[in-house]
């Protein structure tokens, strides 16, 4: 599992690649810390190469969303695959994020 952060003007992008499961969550939580510090910008979570997300991964996304909401900015979840879309829907979090 790898996470790459890029700043682009008023946006900050995180590119996730691999399986965001319980084992990977600790490291990913560390790697997304720059996102929390830039939460006043629009945050884009690019999931083009994310294969799977567990509850631990959802919690990371929620912590990012909570920080962004506290700064009045939004989180866009981009290019999720069908399995991850199903996770968002089944758990009722689908309306909490902007899903593109």
């Amino acid at each position: 599992m790898t996470t790459t952060i890029q700043e682009n003007g008023n946006q900050v992008l995180a590119f996730f690649s691999g399986r965001l499961d319980t084992a990977a969550a600790v490291q990913t939580a560390e790697e997304v810390k720059p996102l929390l510090e830039a939460a006043n910008k629009e945050i884009i979570l690019d999931c083009t190469e994310l294969e799977y997300i567990s509850s631990s991964g959802l919690r990371i996304f929620l912590s990012i969303r909570k920080e962004a909401a506290a700064h009045g900015s939004k989180v866009i979840v981009r290019n999720i695959n069908a399995d991850i879309r199903q996770v968002f829907m089944m758990t009722g979090f689908v309306s909490l994020f902007v899903i593109e």
Partner: protein
């Protein structure tokens, strides 16, 4: 300007730093007290009297003042409120904050005859023990402030005496604004009463008497109508429940034809069991141990749409309503439709 007034101007020049400190302290105390009492106002502002303005005042009535500290408006502050009721509430607050010089304070609202209208403000002359100078505090509503500002502007710009006819028209406007101020206050009181009544009806379960709208739906949500269902769903995987806002479901229930909270409640009860079956069907084969507090109401809406024959398009419209229009909603609707079809809703 005579010698007495010139000496007072010199005294004023020397006192300017103290006057500025007094102003800042007064404003800070007022803002802090308003925040503590959770009172929203339009403006808290102030000024130290300018040299030019003081010269004008002394030229007119300098002999009236023995010393500079006899002038009560060297420092002036003003609070502009939204409502007339707030002027009296803030006045009570000010009386606790500062020492009031009652001899020089005046409630201009009370000065008018029964058949006259015009300037309306409450003026307090106040004192803080650690300062030599008193200060003036004006309390007025936004509409009173608008009238006073325009009246002041007209009076100054013309430079000549304004004919009686125009003065009458200006004062007539003060009467209209006084009526508007009273009406705004009444509307606020009535809305507060309405909200209290609705809350009471929701608490007492008399939901058929409550029309469905933004306010009433918020009161309904405060009664936490989806908690029991959410807890049952959470128990499937011993999941934790994350709170999320549910207000956007108002438009979904409205689209379902609900006119009262009673309609909403009947719909919720009717589809609750199927909503749980849908959640169990979806989550039972996963180890997802976190859900949102929207999952119960979301599933109720989904099963209602499918049971009413709304099909995939109905689900797309539903996800458009709660997520905003988005190309992904079609895929989400398709997936939801396929997940739910084995349940024979």
């Amino acid at each position: 300007m005579d010698l007495h007034c010139e000496m007072m101007m010199e005294e004023y020049q020397a006192a300017l730093p103290e006057l500025e400190r007094l102003l800042q302290e007064v404003l800070a105390k007022l803002r802090e007290a308003l925040e503590r009492n959770e009172m929203l106002v339009t403006a808290v502002e102030g000024r130290v009297k300018t040299r030019k303005s003081l010269e004008g005042k002394l030229a007119l009535k300098g002999a009236k003042y023995a010393t500079l500290s006899d002038i009560t408006d060297l420092v002036g502050a003003r609070i502009v409120t939204f409502y007339t009721d707030d002027v009296d509430r803030i006045a009570a607050m000010v009386e606790q904050l500062f020492e009031i010089d009652w001899t020089n304070s005046v409630d201009k609202r009370m000065l008018h005859q029964l058949d006259s209208f015009g300037y309306n403000s409450l003026h307090y002359v106040c004192k803080m023990p650690e300062y030599d100078f008193r200060f003036e505090l004006q309390l007025r509503t936004t509409l009173q402030h608008a009238w006073a500002s325009i009246n002041h502007d007209i009076g100054y710009k013309t430079g000549v005496e304004i004919p009686r006819e125009y003065l009458r028209r200006i004062n007539r406007l003060a009467g209209i604004l006084e009526m508007a101020d009273d009406e705004f206050s009444r509307i606020r009181t009535e809305i507060t009463d309405y909200r209290r009544r609705v809350h009471q009806l929701v608490q007492n379960g008399k939901l058929d008497d409550v029309q469905l709208d933004g306010d009433t739906f918020s009161s309904y949500l405060q009664a936490r109508p989806f908690d029991a269902l959410n807890r049952r769903i959470a128990a499937i995987n011993q999941a934790e429940i994350q709170e999320v806002p549910l207000n956007r479901y108002l438009r979904v229930f409205s689209a379902f034809g609900c006119k009262t909270l009673g309609d909403v409640q009947r719909l919720v009860k009717h589809y609750e069991e199927d909503a749980y079956r849908l959640a169990r069907h979806q989550l039972g084969n996963t180890d997802l141990d976190i859900i949102s507090s929207a999952v119960g109401v979301q599933n109720i809406c989904i099963v209602c749409i499918l049971a009413s024959g709304g099909g995939k398009m109905g689900l797309v419209r539903f996800f458009d309503a709660i997520n905003g229009h988005n190309t992904q909603n079609e895929a989400i609707a398709e997936m939801t439709f396929n997940l739910a079809k084995n349940l024979q809703l």
